[in-house]
């Protein structure tokens, strides 16, 4: 049973760590701008992030990101800068407020429901014994 416990501890640790966020401001400017360019969409291309897009506007938006980073702005401020100009759809995932919470609630619900069903099966097996 020892190993099962190990797995449990390992899993719970993993989940705690996973949702705790890494401090993204610790990286070099270039790393941060690369990260940001993966989080911001090119407003004129269909479903492409700045990182993927070849368009002129996307290139220039990457310059904006670098400029603002070297001015000392935080990632959050830069994301807000673009949201204020291009709307929420410029973010690769919406900000976690308002209705958008459902974007995160539903996956959790799906997961929890599944776990409950499996636990139920487990209990049924126990009961039969």
């Amino acid at each position: 049973m020892l190993h099962q416990k190990k797995v449990l501890i390992f899993l719970s640790l993993f989940f705690i760590l996973f949702f705790g966020c890494i401090n993204e401001n610790d990286l070099t400017l270039e790393q941060r701008s690369y990260q940001l360019s993966k989080q911001i969409m090119c407003p004129i291309c269909d479903a492409q992030t700045l990182d993927q897009s070849q368009s002129q506007l996307a290139k220039d938006m990457k310059i904006t990101i670098l400029n603002q980073l070297s001015e000392g702005k935080t990632n959050e401020q830069i994301r807000d800068f673009f949201v204020n100009r291009y709307g929420e759809e410029v973010l690769a995932y919406p900000p976690q407020k308002g209705l958008n919470i459902f974007l995160w609630i539903i996956p959790t619900t799906i997961f929890v429901t599944g776990v409950l069903i499996i636990l139920n099966t487990y209990k049924n097996i126990k009961k039969r014994k």
Binding site: S55, D60, M61, T64
Partner: protein
């Protein structure tokens, strides 16, 4: 009936999804603005704060901003010498700027993704007299949330951004807007 409950539970989210899909595909329009060039005239929502200022370095080397044009209606035009709708628009804007210059209307041009040669060439060819600037890396355009060219930001006499127009505008369409704005100024005075 435990079963019936389950059925309803399963059907509920599915039917909700279907309804949403239906509604959204009914309201779907086919618009594509490839390569950042807007080919048809329309008003676009303004996402930027309405009292937003700008600082632009013109081709002549002056720094201009909103406070240089107190009480004037400003038409800030984002364009490029290689963009076909902008080329068609060139003479229209040149004429309009001359006709309306004595009626508190100031045109300003910002040429995006362009070279100095081409811009000067374009200005000379169309006899454009209002100030123009080159925004080589698109930073001014991005600051105004511009997606494609041509795009115009119209600022009223109180310095408030009131319209964002994308696509090439014709002389009558711009005249209508300017008429409206200048009569408002007269009324207020």
């Amino acid at each position: 009936m435990k079963n019936r409950k389950k059925i309803i539970l399963a059907l509920l989210p599915i039917s909700l999804l279907i309804i949403i899909l239906l509604i959204s595909s009914l309201g779907k329009s086919d618009d594509n603005n490839q390569l950042g060039v807007n080919s048809s005239f329309s008003y676009a929502p303004i996402a930027i704060p309405e009292d937003k200022d700008f600082t632009i370095k013109t081709l002549l080397g002056d720094q201009i901003s909103k406070k240089d044009y107190p009480g004037k209606i400003i038409i800030l035009d984002f364009w490029s010498s290689w963009c076909i709708p902008c080329i068609q628009e060139g003479p229209v804007l040149s004429n309009l700027s001359k006709e309306w210059s004595d009626r508190n209307v100031q045109f300003l041009g910002v040429s995006v993704w362009d070279t100095k040669e081409n811009v000067l060439d374009f200005i000379n060819k169309n006899d454009i007299q209002y100030p123009n600037a080159i925004d080589k890396n698109g930073q001014i355009a991005i600051d105004f949330g511009v997606r494609g060219i041509p795009e115009k930001i119209i600022i009223d006499s109180k310095g408030k951004i009131i319209h964002r127009i994308i696509g090439p505008s014709t002389k009558p369409s711009l005249e209508k807007i300017l008429d409206q704005l200048t009569t408002e100024i007269l009324k207020n005075n």
